[in-house]
Amino acid sequence: MSWLHIFILLPLVFAIIVPFLYKKIPKVHTGWFVLFVPLSIFVYLLTFLPMIAGGETAMYILPWIPGFNIDISFYVDGLGLVFGLIISGIGTLVVLYSIYYLSKGREALHNFYVYLMMFMTAMLGVVFSDNLIVLYLFWELTSISSFLLIAYWYARRQSRYGAQKAMLITIFGGFAMLAAVIMLGIMGDTFSIRELIAQGGQLVQHPLFMPAMILILIGAFTKSAQFPFHIWLPDAMEAPTPISAYLHSATMVKAGIYLVARFTPFFGGTMEWFWIVTGIGLLTLFWGSLLAVKQRDLKALLAFSTVSQLGLIMSLLGMGSAALYYGEGELAHLHSMAVLAAVFHLVNHATFKGSLFMVVGIVDHETGTRDLRKLGGLMSIMPISFTIALIGSLSMAGLPPFNGFLSKELFFTGTLNAADLDIFRMETYGFLIPVIAWVASVFTFIYSIILVFKTFFGNYQPERLEKEAHEAPWGMLVPPAILALLVVVIFFVPNVLGEYVLEPMMASILPTLAGQFDFHIEAWHGFVPELFMTIALVVIGIILYLTLRKWIGLYNNVPRALTITNAYNSGLKGMESISRKITDAHMTGFSRAYLRYIFLIFVLIVGAHLFLLDGFSLETANVANINMFEIILSLALVGSAAMVVITRSRLTAVISVGVLGYIVALFFVVLRAPDLALTQLAIETVTVALFLVCFYHLPSLRKKEDGDGVNGLNLVIASLVGMTVTAVSLSANGHRLFPAISDYYLDAYELAGAANMVNAILADFRALDTLLEIFVLCIAGLGVYALVKVRLARREKNEDQ
């Protein structure tokens, strides 16, 4: 148990205390108590920064299930630490923000902070875990706590829908990831990511390499809302805004990014990894930016913009993985710039998107709506919010003097480098990458402008707002202001960040180049293609924004049926109706149908076994001679059995069953089993008597209207079962592998003092069976008694009424 373990598990432990604080100290907003948890984690994690910047890492192991190689081992390196800082840092701001956002009187605050604390531990666990099983454990905990948080206002239908959707999709990805984890465990014989990466080179040829890669990517893509799994994120916007800001922009959706980055040293350098990650990333970037433009709800707009930006980071990670193909040298350094852009934009995105969400929350909180059509002219009423929103949006659009500009320039550099690649068949399709990236950036610019201009410019329409707009309290403004400040600060001193944060992160993602990164982020680096791309996108973006009214209608032409959400909904409905149909088709409620299945499957399994494995054999060596009366008895047996089946009268059937039983008793006589014969005679008589007892109450056998009343299918099944059993018995008789153990019981008199061997077996050698048979009879008797009594009692009661 190290300090790191304690700090990571601190929120989980604190979650237990939260409800008590809520109940016992109702005067103070519970959030104030919670605030110190992420703050202390943040401060604690800051102490690692100098060590990490020096190129060192640390590992803390706490054994959990050593027999299965499962330890709660936490590993601190650049990637994990920066994520940890983002989680705890933005966590602190979000808790502060939520204190002012959530009302003390009306909201169930204890639920909120318990879920939030659960989520924080889970997220910290994800980014620090070195053991894959533990990583998966925390991964699922993030899904569950996210589910709880989305459905925080569970009385709303949309909240529940969004929570269910997010749950289904992320858990689906989680399961895929679990499968990948197991595959990786099989491949490397270890669950430690570190050890896996160490032997990464040898495992490329392993047959499980590709399946594990694809499953890991499914896990990462579902969590990070990549195409086509992005549909859960816009619906997760039903959560309270602090949650949207925290989970659905800064932390949880980056868990997939983290996973991809974490596994880049293992899977990276292969063509499939490069193409899947880059391709899906670009597609998501493009699709998300395209859809964000048409949103009318501020949070939905931000959700799609998050999707798009996550795609950007993902595609950069994909492009950067090309560096691993080269291993070392100039080209590796060239492509490592994409990784730099990825980690840089990851940090930047966490800052500006968090602040934007918080501003949107403020707007929602102070005006009562998030609808762009109702908002406008808030600039003079909410000047601070406007400033923060402007900084965030322009950073998102990629303009100077904000940090988004730097990472966007690096992004263009990355795409241009990737387009020049001459591996992975890039020479054919490579030129597409910068084109798609540029078009997506134009749309990014447009929606960023829409976000600010439609909200804060134009006419103030107080009659359409639910409340009179006014500036938010300082407590709500401070957290986004801090983030906005970071946005500007990072632009001016990017290299401090680069030295302490970005370099260690790159060292984690590209371990072969660790310690050799030589970059200098500059706002101005001459007249290079990236600059012209930015200028062009601003010009085109402004033109498109000004003509927005003319082409926004194009979105309405897209048929609803083609949307992915529609596919998801109808897919769910379809699955339900198909499974209902399947169930209805075979669960008929008639036992004859079930008996058919049982018999058919019996015949299929046993018969096919006999047939396919050549199991049938007829051994005649140990067959006894056949007597005359055995033949006669068999004939009589067959005759009476046939009678049972053929007859139309139930009484005849009962009598035939009696005859059948008596003949069986005769068989016992002939085969020298006096005890069996005695019992059989007595039981048969009782059984027939019982049949007759209930006979009076039974309807007569219904005559079939059509034909001879033979059901062909049943006939076939019955014959097949009969033949199968016969074949099995004959084969079994021929396959006696061991001598019988009955010789031992022949000494029954000496062993048990019993002259009757059958009785000695029943009451002495195997008396336990007899005891239980007695129980069976006892239970049957009691059961019959209970059935009759209960029935009689009910009937009498009915008669009384």
Partner: protein
Amino acid sequence: MFDTVLLFMLLLLAIAILGGLYRAIKGPSMADRVLALDLISIMMIALIGIVSLYFETDAFLEAILLLGILAFIGAVALAKYIERGVIIERKRDD
């Protein structure tokens, strides 16, 4: 010689049982079937006796006694069923 005689007797009994079975199956009335069943029971008593002789064992004598009792009870039960429709009547006075 003795065994041959026993076997011949067994054959005769078996034919008789088959005859009884025919009657039991064919009917036409319920009483015919009950009588046929009774006949089969008695034939079986004889049959078991002869088989015991043939096997030279006394292990089946209980079976003969039991079968005698059961044949009687069964015939009475069936007769009662045909006459009354039930075998065990409920008390009328409660």
